[in-house]
Subunit: 445 residues, 3 copies
């Protein structure tokens, strides 16, 4: 019987080891698909942004968007990840915690003893690229490519990830000191990117022809609305990757948020669909415009993002409606103030995100955070102000510096003629898109 026990003990040890591996492997798989789906966000932004440009700037917008994504990746490897690990306490780096993020550390590359760092880095890199794409849409048709790339790197590989260290980290000071909660990164991703864009727009200025001498505004229309609308819908597919990337896979135990609270993927599924639907309906009521309906879908998600883990689904629906209503209304107000945000990034990401973060302070207050303070309105307010400033100030200061050295805006003659004819070696539709005499149905062979 002793032998039987020993055999059984060996089997149990093997099962324990297998179970450990199984959790590790399936965790990797989960975030691998999150990363892949977040890639769809970028395909969506690319279609959206090219569609939202005028015909003379289509490919220049595409180049800008693609290149921002490309530069985000190495810069996030070389310093972005380190910032996340090192700065949960504020502005003073913790070099010990940051050590694993130094590009030559063992964790930053293939390592048979570390199945986690690469996949987490990848998911966070895609979040970084998302912030850059959010900003990218606002400034199309007049920003200089070089200045844009510098600002995109500043936003994606420095600013937002500092925000993530504060507001989207198990040891971030907003959680540990105040009891902050923001499940879906409405603060560090959407607010930071949206208000960064606002800071840049103040220095960049509106497109030529956007405002009349009397201050009234002209609509500068997307050249291909169906492409933009489709792009936004596929972008939302990508948000299943983004929101999946907001939850910790524990494998042999319940899911937790990045803040340590237990939750379920089921809860997120309920609320994601409900706030998405609310956002569309809210924006439809206000605008009847399909471009805004899909932007409203995004705004609806951000409006409920902070509490996707805990809201009762009808509440998420109502918050979604709120986001879908707020975004176009804020957009109009900003337009009246002379801020030419080409795609509404400031209102959709910045203000709907702000609304979502504060709403959690009302509808999600009192939720326990283990050893840290329970969730509360003050924490959400402090976090909201932090995220707003963390986005706005670097965007404003960075673009002011670039402006002073002539790297911010293209020359007016290029802007008037169009960036594609001047800067891009091919044109978007070289033959045009008319029917060219093959417009009638030809007989089948």
């Amino acid at each position: 019987m002793e032998q039987e026990l020993a055999e059984l003990a060996a089997k149990v040890a093997a099962l324990e080891e297998g179970s450990g591996w199984s959790t590790t492997i399936n965790m990797e798989v989960f975030y691998w698909w999150c990363t892949a789906l977040m890639f769809i966000i970028h395909a969506g932004f690319l279609a959206y942004e090219m569609g939202a440009s005028r015909k003379k700037n289509v490919l220049a917008s595409g180049i800008k968007n693609i290149l921002a994504f490309a530069f985000m990746i190495p810069t996030f490897f070389f310093f972005g990840w380190w910032i996340y690990l090192a700065f949960p306490n504020g502005f003073v780096p913790d070099f010990e915690q940051g050590a694993g993020g130094i590009p030559w550390s063992d964790a930053m590359g293939p390592n048979l003893g570390d199945n986690a760092t690469g996949i987490f880095w990848a998911a966070f890199t895609l979040f970084a690229a998302t912030t850059a794409s959010i900003f990218s849409g606002a400034v199309i048709e007049r920003i200089k490519l070089s200045g844009f790339i510098i600002l995109a790197i500043l936003l994606g590989s420095v600013v937002w990830i500092l925000g993530a260290a504060w507001a989207w980290h198990g040891g971030g000071w907003l959680l540990t000191e105040y009891g902050w909660h923001d499940f879906g990164a409405a603060g560090c991703v959407h607010m930071v990117a949206g208000f960064f864009a606002l800071g840049v727009l103040l220095n960049l200025g509106p497109r030529i022809g956007k405002y009349n001498p009397d201050g009234s505004s002209n609509d500068i229309l997307p050249h291909n609305v169906p492409m933009s609308v489709f792009g936004l819908m596929i972008l939302i597919v990508g948000f299943f990757g983004f929101l999946g990337g907001c939850i910790i896979y524990n494998g042999t135990g319940q899911w937790t948020t990045i803040f340590g609270n237990p939750t379920t993927l089921s809860a997120v599924a309920f609320n994601t669909l409900m706030c998405f639907a609310g956002g569309i309906i809210g924006a439809w009521v206000v605008t009847r415009d399909p471009f805004w309906m899909m932007s409203g879908a995004l705004a609806g998600i951000f409006a409920a993002a902070s509490g996707l883990d805990v809201y009762w689904p009808p509440l998420a629906f109502l918050l979604g409606i709120g986001g879908g209503v707020i975004a176009p209304l804020v957009f109009k107000q900003l337009d009246k103030l002379g801020i030419d945000d080409a795609v509404g990034a400031v209102s959709v990401h910045g203000f709907a995100g702000l609304f979502g973060v504060l709403a959690f302070g009302i509808f999600g207050a009192g939720y326990p955070n283990g050893d840290y303070p329970d969730t509360n309105f003050l924490a959400q307010l402090i976090g909201a102000v932090s995220m707003l400033l963390l986005g706005f100030v670097p965007g404003y200061v960075g673009s002011l510096i670039l402006k002073s050295v002539g790297l911010l805006r293209i020359p007016p003659e290029v802007e008037i003629r169009g960036m594609d004819p001047v800067k891009v070696p091919i044109s978007a539709y070289p033959e045009g898109m008319d029917s060219n005499g093959i417009g009638v149905a030809a007989p089948a062979e």
Copy 2:
């Protein structure tokens, strides 16, 4: 040794608990990705339907499609899921079984003790939205938005889900009393949606200009065929989510169908690809038309859908060819009868689904169903008639009522001018899509 045994027992208990969690968590992950991929179906339908519209109606079609999706979600939350749970026996609700679907029940929201309801609800909501999108394409370019939304809710949050309670449920009467089998929902999703569309089309009538006074038919062509064809291909990507959502993840045991029969995902992989290929080839032989080739890919999938779990793959290929051939031929017959189905939804979903359900009665008869009758042709026939009527009657009656109160069809002057210029605040291609003097390659900078 007693202590060793106790320690081992504790380890085993921990492993058992971990294994239970692992199954739960990975089940949630599986359906999460199913839901995300089914979202792609809607991006695909959106591109497809906008492409299939004439230029004057592009955005109105898009708005209709997006809004149907948005309204499906809350209505499916408030009563759709309850219908599924309460009506497996026919028309008399089982309030006890339905209790978990009441919107204020513990299951209908974040609940750390229930990792399943939210994710199943989400997947079913996407199926519901799929039925609405199927219907949506058939009626473009003349249906009133308000009437359409009412009909879409009737289809997606009432009718199809009643069909699912009967024909896609482990306790549905078609299975328990007759031995029905329909792995991939050819009946409750595709037939119901297709014949619902047929019922509506009879009251809605053809688009102005579709038929000549002598009864002959004119082709009303998609304004952007590449966009539609691409939309259909990406839509099929989404069917990997849809078909994944048709199989029960048991985690520590073999897969089962929704009817309780054991199967493998491998079987579904074999047959999905084979019937997809058959459908393309079948439709190509008959039409040479890329729009129909991709519709044929769908028809091929529906033609084999009922038996994707059991067919020998070459049989699935042949059934796929059958679906790909049937759909365009039925479409032509319906056209001759004066039924103007703008995208062929009735033939692709309704008739290819009907073919698929009945084909299973021939090629899949005799398959065991545990305590219930083995699969057989009669069950498939009864189910097919049920699904046909369940789709057609509400579609016909619902649209008749809406017609009588003037909510079904837009005024002829709006139809002639186009819905976009009258109803939508922006236009699809405000600058046109000609080359505008940037049609020749500009020199690189």
Copy 3:
């Protein structure tokens, strides 16, 4: 206590069985999503290839692409998979090993005792379809559909899979005899497809109007660059499925490559993003052209593909830059030689793949392969030559035969008029895409 032990033993046995199932089921799920995401590659290629065609050939290109996919599936079922299993030793089939791939074997269909074959077959079928799509783009606008389908089947269901048996198989002779390593199939997929295309192009000849009498080259431009650029970005989403399909899911133990070396998905995540970024930046520096930037993203991935499992991420980034630089430069050289590769498939897939395979011989030499020789430059060189010839020779000979029987190229009058008006029953943009008087913003209702 004996009873307790027996009970515990029973529990352990149940856990062991459950753990085995769990691994099996989650393995199936992993490759199911790989397959679904590889489907996106085809949606991407479809958009890319239609966009890259001139307006008169848009739909003919689409038909060709869709039909290649459709024919690949049954042919890969009927003989492709058998070739993979039977030919790891070279040209002499091993009938015993091949037995499981005979279409009427128990493994080739639903089988409750085999959860693996179907899902592996599906993933490999998608790889096969990828090779056909790679080739498809190079030959647009003048190849005959019938000849193209024959060549696509030859490439996808015979040639590349023979290459996979040699160079992407745990028992392939290149590994067992020489120590070959090619994680991401740069050789058997990309080189084979690229050099196959080159072989065909030599017999097919350039499009009419591509070269002037003095030998100088004219640009034949894509009719819809935004569609192509978007198609390429979404195609790269699909590469997460492709690269996932390059790694063996062991479930309760570490990942292994198809060659048996241990690795992590995290490693692949690091390097995939880094070489993608490098490829974009490299191509941007050389071309400033968004079409090439996205092709460069692909070339960057292939340039690092052989070592995605082992490279230090900054090395993958540099190799990616190399791929992104090489592809457009080689394209220009081929163009000077009179080879009209419409989308750059030869340079992007063939030459960047070649670069990647050889680069591994330098940067990845000395990596252990268990009982087989360590990785080394000679193995990579032998493999590269093998893959180059395995692609080129059948492409050249196959197309020569088709040319001699008049099945290779469409008549010049059809080419000049366009394939759509002659061969396709509908046209791409029947109304054209001008603004038609709805170009100005209409007032909201």
